[in-house]
Amino acid sequence: MSIDRREFLKIAGASAIFALGGMAIVNDIVKDNLEASQFSPEPGALTARKWAMVIDMQKFKTEDDYKKVINVCNSIHNIPDFGNPKDEIKWIWTDTFEHTFPGQQQEFMPESLERMPFVMLCNHCDNPPCVRVCPTKATFKRKDGIVMQDMHRCIGCRFCMAACPYGSRSFNWRDPRPFIKKENPEYPTRTKGVVEKCTFCVERLAKGLMPACVEASNGAMIFGDLTDPNSEVRKALSSNYSIRRKPELGTGPNIYYIIGGADNA
């Protein structure tokens, strides 16, 4: 069979497209991709096999206790304040029991509990749906369990926001920089069009410091290695009844809540 130039170009072009596409996939599957978390930690850095947090709601007494943990996060991470819910970006925030644990509210709960604000942040899940759906690996899970976001790789498709059952992710609907009250030069600001969320303060852990909210919480928020039976989190969990947000979804959330009795307010 003889082919003319036109036919040849058609076949050559089609082959090239298939070959390039195929190579990209094979490369990715075969090669052991370098992960950001493979660098050896700084001496003095806090490390764990699986970070987790226990929030003891009994220890949040006044409005000020909440403000402290939220404000410190907002200020050190350059979280903008747009003053409207449409553009809102939040890493740590509060809501009532009914909206923190939808479907778990009881009809005749103690009033104090019903009105009490609960602290919410990213659950750094064992099986994070956000990581599963991300088409660019811009959101990924580190070996210590922290779910991270690469702001330079994110294409802003917001698939992760649809996938997260905890509403933990925020999108930069517009340039956040003019809305940062006082910029912290130690931490990067973000650009419009990318998704962000709580990082368990990786930048502080690397320096041997506890997450900022934990430090500001006066012991109400406990942070540690869930795989270590002697860690503070394990001690808190073995001596108290705790609950997690939507554990039935199989995501394996790593934020535990100690609710306590009616005397907590």
Partner: protein
Amino acid sequence: MLDKALTGSRRYWTWVLFLLAVIGVGFIFYLKQFSYGLGITGMSRDVSWGLYIGQFTFLVGVAASAVMLVIPYYLHNYKKFGKIVILGEFLAVSAVTMCILFIFVDMGQPTRIMNVILHPTPNSIMFWDALVLSGYLFLNIVIGWTTLGAERKGFPPPAWVKPLIYISIPWAISIHTVTAFLYAGLPGRHFWLTAIMAARFLASAFAGGPALLILLALIVRKLTKFDPGKEAIQSVSKIVAYAMVANVFFMGLELFTAFYSNIPGEMHPFDYLYVGLDGHAKLVPLMWLSSILAVVSLVLLIYPGTRRMEKTLAVACATVFISLWIDKGFGLIIGGFIPNPFDRVTEYWPTMPETLITLGVWATGFLVLTILYKVAVSVREDTAGIEIEH
């Protein structure tokens, strides 16, 4: 063959200029969105996908529906579809073009879109969607262009197209299945977490796409000398009728599961869409309009008299199209986000810039469609009367 699109009547050029004007307006507003960010749209932290992704979802269905012509013609040798099948293939090309554009305008960082290929992630459904959509676009351009080119010269299409045509059949099913999987695999979004999502998508696609095709075929016949064939249109109308019945049936299955089980998470999105939730009811009139149009279309399509008369068939097809556009291009996406993960209601409505950008993308699709149809119709007018053995 593209030269055929460069000569046309005054009416043709007026239409092309009109589309270019709409594209121009959309493009200007896209530049605005590009500099300001997606905050220019009605989307928010709670409803993080809106009109763009809705249009994308709907149009994947329109694209997939070409298979409803390809199967009878190429697998069952149903000759009556000989003339209309090219309209289906070119409609698919136009629809996939719009899909890709709608994804593009929805990106927060559009300049990084190649990251999907640079960092291929097989565990992400979006990766597969990008693959199958671009593959489907490629298949339909190659198949449509080659068969038409051969026809122009009075030859049967080359043998190597046949395998591509056969591949395009499961491929069409795959694009809409994968698109359904974007939604159907997300934990915590009750409205989307349903095993019949892909089946529902295909049913609505096979109703909405061919309905649009009938309307286009009627327009082509009216404006040009090319006749896709009365019998072909009648056969397509039966496809629309069956698919629309299946679509409404599937919808009924969803309603039964949600309301008989009485699980709040299952019921709330339906409540929001059809009666309102916690005092929020922005979408209720639209959703009822969709339901009423669906019933009207079913009556017109099932009763043979109205289906056979082309005037009423056109009305039926328009009602199918509008009904499904509301249901899938709007309600399905918004409903999935309401209530939000905190069991609160944040409503969504597209803004003016968002709407104009959307219209711009539709105009781009129609421009592609106009050019392709112009080529197809011109070739057919030239070769009118010549029968070619396929």
